[in-house]
Every structure is written in structure tokens, then in C-alpha cells.
Symmetry: D3
Subunit: 312 residues, 6 copies
């Protein structure tokens, strides 16, 4: 029997499947009966659950972060589906495929290779060397490949950082075709590294900001990675260094968006505006694919954008 | 002798060339002597001028809007070059080429053809028909071809509207490659018409807003053109009509930018963000090409963007 | 026995009355017992309800939108009154009066007549003809008469659109007395049509925005109605057309409020500011009449206005 | 010979008339010749002037603030008319009429009487008494009658304060007709006193803010006048006092507009929104009457409103 | 047995202690059983409670505002501790210490004395007299001593007003050392009275805004107290009065923060900026002390400051 | 004869003194006569000048940046004093004192020593070591000592950076006395380095932003200096590093003010708010000392603060 995915569950359906256990709380009803408040996830979404019988016993058998086998019934509570769980246990490793559990871009190796191909087109020898400094840092590139593009708004899944970076590079390259006045080497490399600081900003495990993420932020973290890499190259030209630093520092485009400087070069402006373009397109695609339903015209209200999207 | 262009003039150089006369005022010095305050233009720029002798006589021989022959000396006044004019007269039509006088995109016929090629790729039959309604309106297309992309910020020259529209279509097409969830037909057509209202918003002659431009604005004018064209097609589907209207109405992206609605579809968002991307790239290219000088690091302060650009 | 109105219900009182059924959901308690979550409305307000026994049976006998007979007890849940329902059934048409069910301005015929009287005072023949185009469009006028003034903030009930329009016309007329420099014909007619697009923006049935309402908006819809009506009058003067268009397009006063143009004429400014004046007065009256209670000093927090009102 | 008014002067015309001398500076040309920089005003406007010969001698004969006789020629300098003055001297008091010199509302006595008539309609005895406290304060009422409505934006002339106050009262009264839920006595009296603090905020002589005006402001000054007058009435009810205070303190409507509290009563909201309505109408009327010219479509840019007005 | 404080309670612990009863509602479960929803407070914090048995009987024995004896068990509900109450009764006055119930600055007498010491250093005789007017108003000083520094953000406890005022005075004094150009007498006295209006703005009993607080606000109330006190001193210099008024009126620093005037003197700017400095430091200290937990890095989201604080 | 300072010059006075030549342009009058447009500076201010005779000859004898001897007359032009220069020549080095030419804090050595004294009070050994890294970097400390506190708003003179830093440290220390919950070592050290990046942001010679200043900015430059210095200390604790980085990165307090992160610790908040406090006090002191005049009540309009200051 294949795994039943969360986005396939239907109300009143019986379930026997495998999910990651994301949250677990032992609680008591008003009438003092212990029960378990649970939260499950697989690569297709999340669902809440309740276990009413033998809660204390089951509580001891599983831990947050485990992949678990779950048996029960799909119920509805306050307009949301919910699992009424009868049985829960740690899953045997052979019982499930890890790729089914966590949302990830499957071809992220290939995407990273396409990014490297773009970098290998760079002609300026200094930037070429510098890009190799990044490409050859296998630990950094591995974190980059598996990084999140964001916490929630866009590309918020494993491989999302690489996917997003590829989108930016691809459109920036097109823009350099339309605007040959832009320095393509600077623009392409800037596109590659613009979000590199995200590898340390987010704790991919529990999808939360790290202390460094909260107190320093990915813009300045990325800037630090860049200056460190440049420091490895003897006599790297000062002005070129400043122009590359500038792309990372200004890529949020406005002070209000946490950029400590405004984009003041053609290349930085192209990277910033392309970042806006592709991240919004990605975010809306996500909203549509998550919320689309037969006959439904409007998404739920998207607070960050102060609107509902038309998703029919 | 070839025409001397305004951007080639050097201080203390003698001039004998042809320009459009943009402004002309007969004035008097403190000591009551009449003189002429003049402003000239050709496709490379503008320059102020003063004519000190026989001002009243010369005043009667030329009119604003004429192409004139000008003799005199290049002077400097408050950091700007200025012409000290000795002689001015209406130019004989054979003495100059009109293309030298006005800035224009030279290959704008070709650009419009490339736009039409894109439209011919549209598969949805309703949108295909609708695009032909536009393409076959020769008067509209002629105004579109010669239209200004803007009053001052970006693509502010003849053919700038077509050039800008092409840039938007090209990048939107690339985005549809990255995001196949977007309806390419809607997005491409929306890109084509997004700024169409500009043909009636600006008076290309004196580069000023028309009354309609000031009291209605290009967004709603363009919307009217669209609804009129759709009115010519029997049984055009209502929902499709609304989706196309929406792209024009929302393409400034924010209420503060005069959009009466926010972009709420994937296609409208892509058109809006692409418009931002290519128009800013164009604007910065213009600033660089107009202000670049040996050794100069910063542009003058760009009020609308609250910054100086780095133009070295 | 007369109908018991919702705003008259008291905690612990027995109820047997008639309401519109607005929402209905069959749910299950934690202990798996089915129950009905219900919502009722009449012209005096709304109330939530719960039906605990025989929920599945009752569920099949009524539909959302029905006028229903309800028997039960008034209870209190989280500071709000709630109905504990014992019995529910479709009401016989003779058992209730429809006017008791839905909030509506009773004298809206009269109000519309007073508006028409104002229009008949217009002297400019073009505007006079144009106003007759509207007045003689019986379908439009019928929707206008029964239209909502808004979704929630002001005049949010049947006839509210006409009532609000009358208020604006009346004060605009007074302003033309104080400021004879204003063109009274333009101002009065502009006041009449300023919100006309609302007839298609809101779905009066379920009080939600239509797709057209969400993607085009009442300002541009109203503008379209106007240009269509003007299109019926041969040789309507272009400048006058633009001045009338301008009033609709600018009547929200600020870009942030979705106006695609700012008010730039005396008449448009008067209509905009009068609209602000009377709609806020109406909104506060509604808040006071809905929330006033013996000894209560402050309304609940009004998010849209960032304050509590003093309602004693 | 009748007085020649400033708004009647034509370029190249000879002048012999009477104006107030607003500014006077003795300066030197580049060639060290002394000359006088002058500024004149009458009730129709302002004009700059220059006196080139015998500047030092004339300088000693007149003082800023004098009404002076001026002989000379109307010239043009940087698009503005300017007087080339040959002769200037203090005017004999019988040579001119003071009413011709300063812009003022002529029927301001009548306007104040109409305001008093409104106050006499008040029925609440406490407010009635309080209004008499104001009416009987002859010094205050005299300053009120001759006060400026503002420094520049609206009603910026003698009697402008009374004129503006009347406009507000008149529309507020109409609103109380439409909205009988408003307490008409509170609203009318609030309208009367809303700007009373302006009598001490502006120095009418040189049209500048007083120290008190700059450091305290007319809102709090007016509030002080009110609390002082209420202090004269024994046992004035505390809540009524607070409601009246509230109208003055909130009548700018938003914190950003210097209101220390937001309008939170129906009456305060009506006064605030009416103030907006009539002051903007007045301001636009002023712009139109000052700038209207044959064929001119747009006013100059109005910085405070970020737009040009259509004034044709 | 000593009192058990709220911040010491642990889940599953039995409780028998004394608290203030802040809220009390008799409600019914879905199954119609009456129960009591309760809220308790002591000087260390707040906790919710539920009483399930004999609710109607207990309901009659206690009133909101009473100090009550409570017996029961500490439970957890939605991540928050909650009391399951078995018994509740009015407490005997000798059973508890009132200081344990309400949060208050213990040494507020001493703090007020230190403030008075600062005032006694003032050398300007007018301000010295004026400060004595305040110091000798025992009722005002008593309210000042026991006043709240704010409703929730900073110093929101008894004595918080005096504590906050002392902090401001202390730093203002240091600033006068660094900037001797500031008038120390004006600055110190301004610091003393800047928040004096808070004594009438907040109803310390139920921690709500008074009607006067909501419709007039502490800035203008404080200004009134000042002008009244100055009124008691014959011939108080007008300019000095204005400078002192200005400090109160401008001490929120920005119009958006409800200041009717902006700080325009060195002294007013120092008081405003110092107020910001010390109130934010206090607010963060409160957040840290309330939320600090072993291993916890971030506070909950602080809406007013749009961030989480790092509290480790 | 002692040097005549610029702020001592009086109209019509003869001058023979020494200034820095800041600008020099050879221009021509309308009548084609060459003249020199000049700008001079000494430590007391700036003044414009014109040289009318033998301009071309004098032009060749002096260069911008030279200290020059100037003879001429003090004139007035458009309300500003101006020098009519008869003679100009490079000054002999022994003819003037350099300290008279450039505005500088005289006791800046002493100020830096007081800062070092504060640093020596630090107890945390890691921060102590780190502070020595800074103190022992003689080149950095020398630039720090002679650095500008800003370009124009506050402390905009040599030594201004050290002076400003001392002010911040002093008040931060006082705040740590009031709020012992703050970590004094972190706060004092953060205060010391908060503006350290300014040493590379501004080109002190011509008082302009460097390329690095414009494209990276002093916040990130300072952050880089810090991370570099920390890199010199083996095993510096990661969390402590992050807390120190955070103070620099957040010390502008708001995103709009170019901070890439908001202050989220007690120490960072204290440094930010203290920076605001002392820099504003300094700025107003500068305005007062530059603009104070007998009887003058208001400063000129300060655009950055949107107000005039009361400077009497």
C-alpha cells in the first residue's frame, strides 16, 4: 500500500499512513481526561490531530521529529480537517521514503549545476576566481543546495534557495541581453550570491530564525561571507569589491525592507527588481497550488500583501 | 559641413548649426536694453541661449517650434553651457535632417514588428482576435509606434513607448517559461496593452500632459481603449474581459502609484513587476549616458528615487 | 403573536420566531455527537445558534438563505448571546413579513424621487440629457434604489446607496450656495453618479465582492457606466465629458484610497470632501445605535479608524 | 484720478499710484552703484520693484509699513511683472483709502452677526450662557472679526477667520438636519469656536507666527480660551465641558495634522470634516481667482496638495 | 504559611493562596452546566481560572475587586497555566498583606523626595516658586506618587509615574552637564511635569482611560494643570510660561505621537529624547523580567515595536 | 595683526586676512568680462567672493585647497555677506595658523583619553581584549580622533566623531546605573564603536561621501572593522560576537534610518536612543550658535526636522 499524502485526505476517511510528528502536547479536557494534541507533516502539507484514548501511554512512545505511523479518521474542526488518531508509533525506517516526508525541490542538484554553468560563463578573471571560491566550498554549496528560499512567503522548502537563485540568474541574464550597458559578469555573480546569507539565517530543522539570523540578518551575513571569500584572493580590486558588496547590501531595494543602502548601480537595481519579480511570482504560484479548489474564486486574505488573490 | 550636435559643443567654440527653437522670450536688461532668452534642442540634448544685439528685429523672424539656423559662441553661465547668439533665422528645409532634431528610437518599426510577432504566438482565439483589433487599428498603432514611454523618467523619447513595451513583453515571456502556471496568452497580451493609454495622456508636441491625461490618466484611458475594442467582438467572455481589464488597472502595482486596484492574479503581478524592472533599468541607463564624464563617480541627485547613482 | 426581533432577545428567554438562516454547518463534538452550527439574521441584527439534538435530521430540512421558524432558548457564550435551538423548520410564507427580515431604508422610493428632483434642476442641457439617460434606465435605477452604500463601514443596508447619495447631493447643493464659483450642474450630477459603480461591485445576496468588484472596483465600473451613457448622446462635448469622468475617478480623494487621479477641480473636491463628511457621520451613527447601552461610555475598538468612539 | 490697482498693471505701462511698502533693502550693483529693492502690496496683490537712481536719498524718506506714492514703469523680470520706480514718497493720508490697501472681507460685520444669530438659536442653557461669554468679550470678538483664516492656504485675509467660521457653522447646521442624532447645540457652538485660537497664533501685521503660535499652537491656545470662559460659569457640567474641549482639540482630525486627540464623537467628526470641506473649497477658489488666465488650463503646482488644479 | 505568588505556580501543583479577583463570569457548558470563568491577580502577575462545581453558589459569595482565598490545582490550557478552582471565598483582611496583591514601586516615597531635591536645586526664582506650587499641592503629589507610568507599555504599575519621572530628570540633568547651553532650570522642571497629566488620564482602579483621558488626553490635561498653577503666581513672565508649556505639549516628539507641536527648543528636545530613552529601557526590562525562561532566546512578538526581543 | 575671522566680518568693512580657498570658477559677465567666483572658509564659517579685475591673471596664481591671503571689501548680495576681492595670493605658511582655518574640537586628545578610560573600566575579559585591539590600532585611533561626527547635521567638524562618541558613552554609563539589568560592558563598548565606520565613509578633505561610503555605508563598514578585530582574537565567544555586531547594525534604530536590523536587546536600544538624544542636542546647539542674533526668535527652516527652532 502506497503512502497516503496529507493533501489527499478526505473528511470521514480512515487513515493508515506515515508522517513527521511536528508537535506533541499532553493535555487534559475540562473533565480531566488526558489527551494528545498532535501536529503532522509530510511533503504535501500539515494537519492537526487529537488522540483521546490512552493518551499518556502513547505519549511516551513517540517524540517530536520522529516519522510516525498513524491510524485514525479524518474529521473536521473549525473549517479545517483534523485527524482523530487511534494509534501512533515510531515508524520503521523501511516503512516509508524520507522524500515523501519533507517538501523539497527534487532536481536541486541539476539546478545548482545550471547555476554553476552560468558562473562558468563569467569572463572577468577576478569575478571568475571569486565564483570558484564559492563553488569549491563544498560545505557552503551543500547548504546552499538544501537551503530554504524563505521562512514562509516564497520558495519556503528545501532546495527553494537554489531554485529561487536560478530564477533570478536566468532573468538577470535576459536583462543583460536587453541592456548591454549592464556589466553582465557583475550582475550574474551578484544574482548568484544575493541571498547566500540565508544559509545561516534560518534553522532549517525547526524553520525558525537563528540568533544570528535575528540579530544580524541574512543581508549582513551574506556580506560577511563575500568579504571573507574576497579576502582569500590576493589584490582583489577595491572598486570591484565595493560593487559586489553593494549588490548584496542593496538587494532588498528599500530601507524599509532592511537594505542598509539603496541600489545605486544598474546591476544592483536589476538584481533587486528581478528578485522582486520572481519571488512574487513564486509566492502566488504557491498560494494558488495550496488553495485552489473547484469553484473557489478568491484565496484567503494574504496579510503581507494586503489582498486576496484571484485563484480560479 | 555636417550638423554640429548640442552634446558636442565646447566652451569658447564658435557655432553655426541647426536646432529646434523650443522657447523664446523678449526681455530687457536692468539698463532697459532688449534681449532674447532662447532655448534650443536637437536629438542629443538641450541648451539655453541669449541674443544681445538687435533682439527686437530677430524676435520677429522666428517662432517657437521652428527649426532655426544659429550662429554664435558657446559660453558658460552658472556651471551650464549657454549659447551667445549673434544670428538666428528660420532654416531652409533642405539645410537639415529632421531626424537630427528630435530624439527617437530609430528602429521602432522593427520593434513594433517584433511585438506583433509575439502577439501572433497567442493561442487563445478570443485574445488572438482582440490583439488583431489593436494591430489593425492603424491610427492607434501609428501613435503607439511614435509614442513616448514617459514624460521624463524612462523611455522619454519618440518610440520609447514601443521600446518599453517590447522589453516588458520579452521578460514576461521568459517568466512564463519559468512559471508555466501563468497563462502566457493573457500575460503577453496584457504586457502589450499595459501602457496603451499613454498615447492620449501626453501631448508629444510640447511634452506636457493633456487635459484628459491630467484628469483621467493613462491607466483609465487605456482601460477605455480596451473595453471599446472588446465591445467590437461579439460574445467576448466576461471573465476573460475582467482578467485583461485587471492587468491594465493594476499595472502600477500599488494604490500610491495610482493603480485603482492591486494586482491580484499571477499574470497581473508578473506584468507589474516586469514593468518596474525594465523601466528602472532604462531610467538608469539614461542617467548614465546623459551624465557620464571622465572620472565622475556620482550622478546628480535623482529626486524621484532619493539617491545619486554611481555612474563611473 | 408578533415577531420577536433579534435585538430584543434576552438571556434565558424562550424564543419562537422567524429569521433568515445565514450559515449552517453540521459538525461533531469531541465525543463524536453531531450538532448544527447556525447563524440567523433579521433586520435588527445577527445571532449565532447551536442545535444539539437530532442535528442530522434537522440539517436536511433547511437551507442557507431560507426564512426559518426557530424555537429555543437564549444563552450566553463568550460574552455574546447565542441561541440554543430545539426546533428549526422552513417558514410558511404567510407566517412572516419579509421587511422584518432584512434591514432596508423604508422610504427609499421617496429618497430616489428627491434625488431625481435635484437632477431636474440642472440647467446645462447636455448634463440634463445625460441625467435622463440614467433616470430612464429603469434596471439601473432599480439596482441603485436597492443598492448597499457599502460592505460594512457606512450605509451598509438595502437603500443605503440611495440614502448616501442623497446626503451627498444635499450638502453639495449647500456648498454651491456658499461657493457660486462651483458649477452647480456639474457638482450635483457628479454627486448623483459618484458611487453608481457600487451596483455591480457588491453581491447584495451574500454581501461579498463580485469578481468584477475585486478585479476592477466600483470607481472604474462607475466610470464605464458613465462613458457608456455619454456614448448614447451624439456630440457630447469632450471637455465636459472629461470633467464628469474626473469626479467619479477622483472621488476617493487620495491614491491610497484607490482614486486613480487626485481631485483637481473645485467640483470634484467638493464631492470628495462631502462624501467623506456624510459617510463618516453615517458610520458613527450606526456605531452609536448598534452599541449604545445604559452607562456605556466607549464603543468597541473601530479598527478602520483606529479609535473607540464615545457613545454615551 | 482713481487708484491704480496692482492686479490691473500692464507691462510697459506708466504708473502713479499708492501702495503699502512691504520690504525695502538698499543694495549695490556689481558696479557698486546703490539701488533699492522694494516690495509693494495693495488689496489686489503684490509686486516687486527696483529703484535705480538716487537710491540712498529715497531710502531715507520711506519706511516699511508706510503707504507710499510710487511713480515709474511696469517692467518684466523672470516672467514676473516688476516696477521700475523713479519716485517714491510717504503718501498723504487723504490721498488714498486704507480699504484699497489691504485685502479684507468687506461684509465681515454682517458675517459676525449671522454667526451670532446661529448662536442665539442654541437651546442648551449652559452652552447658551457660554456663547454669550464669548459674544460679550468685545476685544476677543473684534480680533475674531478681523482675524486671518490662515497664513496662506485658505481664507488668508482680514475677515477670513469669520468668513471661514460662518461656512463651517452653515454646513454643520445642515448636517444636523440630516443627522438629528447629533447634538445641534454642541455642534454649532463647537463650529463657532473651533479656530478661535488663531486670533493669537498669527501676527496679522507681518503675517507671521507669534512665539506663542509657534510653541503652543492655535489648537491649544483655543482650548485655553475655552477653559477660561467656562471657568467664569459656576457649576458648568464636567462632561459637557469635556465634549466641547474635545471639538477644539480634535478638529484637525488626525495626529499628523497636529490634533492631540482624534475626533471620537459624532459632533467632533462633523466639525472636523466640514472644516476640511469648506477650507479646501475656499483654497481652490483662491487659486482659481488668482491664477485664471485666458486659455490657461492648469494652475502652478500646489506643493501642499501635490497637484496642479484645472482652472479653465 | 506564606502567600504563594502567581509567578511561582507550577503545573499540577495544589494551591491555597490569596489573590485579587479581577474578572468573574457565570457561564454554561454546551451541556448546560453552569461554571465560573475567573481571573486572578497579585503583584507578580495574572492567571485565569475555572470553577466547575457549585458555580452558582460560589458566584454569589464573591465580587470583582475582592481579595479572595482560592483553593485548587494548577492546570494548563492552550499553552497557558490556569487554575482549576475548587473553593473560593472573600478573604479576611488579616489573612493577607495588601502589598502582596498589587504591583507597586516600594520606595516611591523616597523617589518623590529625590525628585523634590532636584527641584530645590532650581535657581530661577519664577520656576522655583512654580515648582513649590506643585510640591505643596499635597493631593496632586499624592496622586503623582501613586500614579501609573502608563497603561501597559512602560512603568505600568503603582509608583511607575514617579519612577519614570525620576529617570527622566536624572538623565536630563546629565545632559545639561554635557550641554551647558541648555537652561538647566527649565529642563529639570520640564522633566518633572512632562507627564503630570497622567494622574487624571488613567483610572488606576480598573486601569482604563477616563472619559477626560480619552477625549482630552494627558498632554493637554497636564498643560491645563500647568497654566492653572502659573495663574496662581502674579506677573509670571509670559515668555517663560510659553517655554514651559512647550515642553509638556511637545514631549511626545512627533505629531503622529499626539504632540500638538514639535519640540522646537533645546530643552524640549532633551526632555522628549530622554523620555524615549528611559521609557524604552524600562519597557524592555519589564519584558525580560516577565518572559525570561531557561534557554528561551526570544520574547513573544511585541506588536507596538514590531519585533521580538532577545531575552536570553 | 591678528587674523580677521569670517564670522567677525561686517558689511562695508575692508578686509585683509587668510582663508582656505574652497571653490574657484572663472566666469564671464553678460558683457563678456571675465571674473572669478570664489568661496572661502575658516574655522568660523564660509563666505562667497567675487573678483572683478584682472580675473584671468589671479586665476592662475591660486588653487582650490590653498590657504590664501585676501584683500577686499565686505559687500552684501541677496541678504548674504560677500567679499568683493581686489587681491588674492597663496599665503606664506608662516603668515597664518592652520588651527584658525579649519573648525576642530581643540581638546580631542583629551576626549579620546576619557573614552579610553571608560574602556579600561570594562570587566569582561573578552570585551576588554577586544577594546585593546581598537585602542592599539594607532592608525584607526588617529582617524577616529580627527573624524567628522557627520556630514552636516551634527558634530560636523574635526574631532566631532570623538566628541559625539564620548557623549554617547557618558549617558549610556548613566543609563547602566539606572538599569543594572543592562550589561554595562557590552553597552559601553557598543557605544564606543557604534559610529566607527564613519572614518571611512566620509572624505574629510572635501567633506563628501567616499564611493565605499555611498555603496556600503558606515554601518556595514563599522561592522566589518568589528568582525576583523574579533577575528584577531582566538576563540572569541560566538554569542558575544553577535551581541556586539548587533549594536552597530541596529544603532540607527529603524529600517527607514538604514539599520538592517531593529534593536532587539536592552543594550542596543540604550545605545540607539542615547545616540538620538545627544546628536539632536548637539545639532540644535550648532543651529543656535550659528544663527543666534539680537532679537531673532526663530532659526531658518531646518528641512531635515521640518521645523524652525526657537533660538532666542
Amino acid at each position: 500500500m502506497g503512502k497516503k499524502f496529507i493533501n489527499e485526505l478526505k473528511v470521514n476517511e480512515k487513515v493508515n499512513s506515515y508522517f513527521i510528528l511536528r508537535k506533541k502536547n499532553l493535555k487534559r479536557t475540562k473533565f480531566d481526561k488526558p489527551y494528545l494534541e498532535l501536529s503532522f507533516q509530510d511533503k504535501t502539507g500539515k494537519i492537526e490531530g487529537r488522540l483521546w484514548d490512552d493518551a499518556e501511554k502513547f505519549d511516551e512512545t513517540v517524540e517530536t521529529g520522529d516519522v510516525v505511523q498513524v491510524k485514525g479518521l479524518v474529521d473536521k474542526y473549525r473549517e479545517e480537517k483534523q485527524l482523530k488518531v487511534d494509534f501512533i508509533a515510531r515508524a520503521d525506517d523501511r516503512a516509508f521514503r524520507y522524500e515523501d516526508m519533507v517538501r523539497a525541490v527534487e532536481n536541486r542538484d541539476e539546478i545548482v549545476n545550471k547555476i554553476i554553468d552560468y558562473m562558468r560563463q563569467i569572463e572577468n578573471p577576478w569575478i571568475k576566481n571569486l565564483s570558484e571560491e564559492f563553488i569549491n566550498d563544498t560545505q557552503l554549496m551543500s547548504m546552499f543546495k538544501d537551503g530554504l528560499g524563505g521562512k514562509s512567503w516564497h520558495n519556503a522548502y528545501i532546495g527553494g534557495l537554489a531554485e529561487h537563485t536560478y530564477d533570478v540568474i536566468h532573468i538577470v541574464d535576459q536583462m543583460c541581453g536587453l541592456y548591454p550597458e549592464a556589466d553582465r559578469d557583475i550582475a550574474l555573480f551578484g544574482a548568484f550570491i544575493h541571498d547566500i546569507g540565508k544559509v545561516y539565517e534560518l534553522d532549517a530543522k525547526n524553520m525558525e530564525y537563528t540568533v544570528q539570523g535575528g540579530l544580524v540578518g541574512h543581508i549582513v551575513i551574506g556580506h560577511n561571507i563575500l568579504t571573507e571569500k574576497i579576502g582569500n584572493i590576493r589584490d582583489f580590486p577595491g572598486d570591484l569589491k565595493t560593487l559586489l558588496e553593494h549588490i548584496i547590501l542593496s538587494h532588498h531595494g528599500e530601507y524599509e525592507q532592511q537594505s542598509p543602502v539603496l541600489p545605486k548601480t544598474l546591476e544592483a537595481t536589476i538584481v533587486y527588481q528581478t528578485d522582486e519579480l520572481v519571488s512574487q511570482a513564486n509566492a502566488i504560484r504557491e498560494i494558488k497550488s495550496a488553495q485552489a479548489e473547484e469553484g473557489k474564486e478568491w484565496s484567503s486574505f494574504v496579510t503581507i500583501k494586503k489582498r486576496k488573490y484571484y485563484i480560479k
